[in-house]
């Protein structure tokens, strides 16, 4: 086991202890629901689930992230993407549950998972995230956990000056908050399915 894998194992132990070791995990409260390798055989592919922060258009919605870890981690940043599915796949997922189920679940806390990410700093079609700490300002002192939490913070603090989604960034620049929130909500309702 090399030093990258050792550090990842250390991070995995810490994050699992904090997520599932205590009943009221502060990590869950700050929006991180799950963070773990996709399979036991590969430490370099992780997935995460986050919850949109309260009093933002993303609240009560879960989002999945894919994490690709370079062999030189932590000297190089991990590649983190929002999971974006094709319209067709989302329709299939939505079709699995009846309309009534969706309505019921929409009222419960953390009801659905959205498979597109409408955000000024996220590419709508690829899920690519524009965040300085994942590119030029990366430092090995960051962890997967802190990087994911930085993405949760980005949801409530969009940065319209470096957009990957020009339409949403323009609404934000025009300070049309009503339209901005309504458009995000529309996409979320449109592309969500019940989380499994």
């Amino acid at each position: 086991m090399n030093s990258t894998e050792k550090r990842l194992l250390k991070e995995y132990r810490n994050v699992q202890r904090e997520l599932h070791g205590t009943k009221n995990s502060s990590l869950r409260k700050s929006g991180l629901l799950e963070l773990k390798p996709k399979s036991q055989s590969d430490m370099y592919e992780w997935s995460a689930t986050i919850e949109g922060p309260d009093s933002t258009p993303y609240e009560n919605t879960a989002f999945d992230l894919n994490i690709k870890i370079p062999r030189s981690y932590p000297l190089e940043p991990p590649e983190i993407y929002f999971v974006v599915l094709s319209d067709e796949t989302i329709r299939k997922l939505q079709g699995r549950s009846s309309k009534k189920d969706v309505e019921v679940l929409k009222k419960a806390p953390i009801t659905h998972k959205c498979f597109k990410m409408p955000h000024p700093n996220v590419n709508f079609n690829t899920g690519e995230i524009c965040l300085d700490i994942l590119k030029k300002r990366w430092s090995p002192a960051w962890t997967l956990q802190s990087a994911i939490l930085a993405i949760v913070v980005l949801l409530s603090n969009p940065e319209p000056s470096s957009p990957l989604n020009v339409d949403l960034a323009n609404l934000l620049r025009c300070e049309d908050e009503t339209a901005y929130k309504a458009l995000i909500r529309f996409y979320i309702e449109e592309y969500s399915a019940i989380s499994t």
């Binding site: 086991m1 090399n2 030093s3 050792k6 550090r7 250390k10 991070e11 932590p74 000297l75 190089e76 300002r137 430092s139 090995p140 002192a141």
Partner: protein
């Protein structure tokens, strides 16, 4: 000269007093110390105790040295001008990527290397 004079007089005073006390028979003690609890504070001489790069404790060898079974005497720690410390091996590999402190992203310059 005056310093020496002061010292002399200071030394003289207690002996004079003790002589006086002996002359006047032992006085009743004014108070007696029954219990005395000393409290000391200490802290590391560094602002962080784990290496932010490999996440091992700085008093232990870095993740690479630990893997190859080397002991900590072969793995010194490096302290920067910003007072953040890392294993020398760890910071050496990082500054090839970018010459900045991983913790505060100020320019990295080495203040000292401490042998464990």
């Amino acid at each position: 000269m005056s310093d020496q004079m002061d010292v002399d007089s200071l030394e003289a005073t207690p002996t004079e007093q003790s002589q006086q006390q002996q002359d006047n028979k032992p006085k009743k003690k004014r108070f007696e110390v029954k219990k005395w609890t000393a409290v000391a504070f200490w802290s590391w001489d560094q602002s962080n105790e784990t290496c932010a790069i490999c996440r091992n404790h700085l008093m232990e060898p870095c993740i690479d040295c630990a893997a190859t079974g080397k002991d900590r005497s072969n793995c010194p720690r490096a302290v920067g001008m910003c007072n953040h410390s890392f294993h020398l091996h760890c910071i050496d590999t990082w500054i090839k990527t970018r010459n900045s402190c991983p913790l505060d992203s100020s320019d990295w310059s080495l203040k000292e290397v401490i042998q464990n």
